[in-house]
């Protein structure tokens, strides 16, 4: 049994409509794809100082995707 209040448990178990999930996945894909592309380009061009920030964007995007997948699909 979870220690979370019932209304929180219910909210977590909520399934979002497939079209809404699609509409959320598309811009999230842009964020992840372009940040990964920029990491590769920065590495190629020797701009190592920008890479940690871009990796933080990537990591946050993957966390959001995991949250969506685990809880709302």
């Amino acid at each position: 049994m979870s220690d979370l209040p019932t209304h929180i448990e219910e909210a977590i178990q909520l399934k979002l409509p497939p079209d809404l999930m699609h509409d959320m996945r598309t811009p999230l894909g842009h964020i992840l794809g372009y940040s990964e592309l920029l990491i590769e380009q920065m590495r190629d061009q020797g701009h190592e100082e920008f890479i940690p920030y871009l990796e933080k964007i990537c990591k946050a995007g993957h966390q959001l995707l995991e949250t969506m997948t685990d809880n709302f699909e």
């Binding site: 999930m21 992840l32 794809g33 592309l37 995707l65 699909e73």
Partner: protein, 133 residues
């Protein structure tokens, strides 16, 4: 150089994925709807097609059925790409004739693995077919 036909109506998806694939050494040609995708597959003979399924003019399911029903294009592997992650979407894509399926957001290493695996499989199939005829 392997040639990939990317059929995708979303401009940012097209731009982002084509740049990433080109960096990995692929030639990428692009179509923005299913009808254009079919025409380009016929005229440019790509090694693989990456097919978004929700497309204007002719959707990805119909475009795939058209490619797989033609002797000229039936041996071009088609990978369905969709931002829908439900198992029914995968089944629907495979029923239309897609050879594999991947979900957006694209994980590039995984997608390239599928591209190379399908190209190798189809090359072997063609060699075996020619050997038995």
């Amino acid at each position: 150089m392997r040639r990939i036909l990317l059929v995708e109506d979303n401009e940012m998806n097209r731009d982002m994925l084509s740049r990433r694939l080109q960096r990995r050494g692929y030639e990428v040609i692009m179509a923005t709807d299913g009808q254009q995708g079919v025409t380009m597959a016929q005229s440019r003979s790509p090694d693989v097609v990456l097919m978004d399924m929700s497309l204007p003019v002719m959707d990805g399911w119909e475009a795939t059925r058209t490619l797989k029903s033609s002797p000229d294009t039936k041996d071009i592997p088609v990978i369905a790409l969709t931002a829908h992650a439900m198992s029914t979407d995968r089944e629907k894509a495979m029923e239309a004739g897609c050879d594999d399926y991947d979900t957006k957001p694209i994980e590039l290493t995984r997608l390239i693995g599928k591209i190379e695996s399908l190209i190798a499989r189809f090359s072997n199939d063609i060699v075996q077919t020619e050997a038995t005829t």
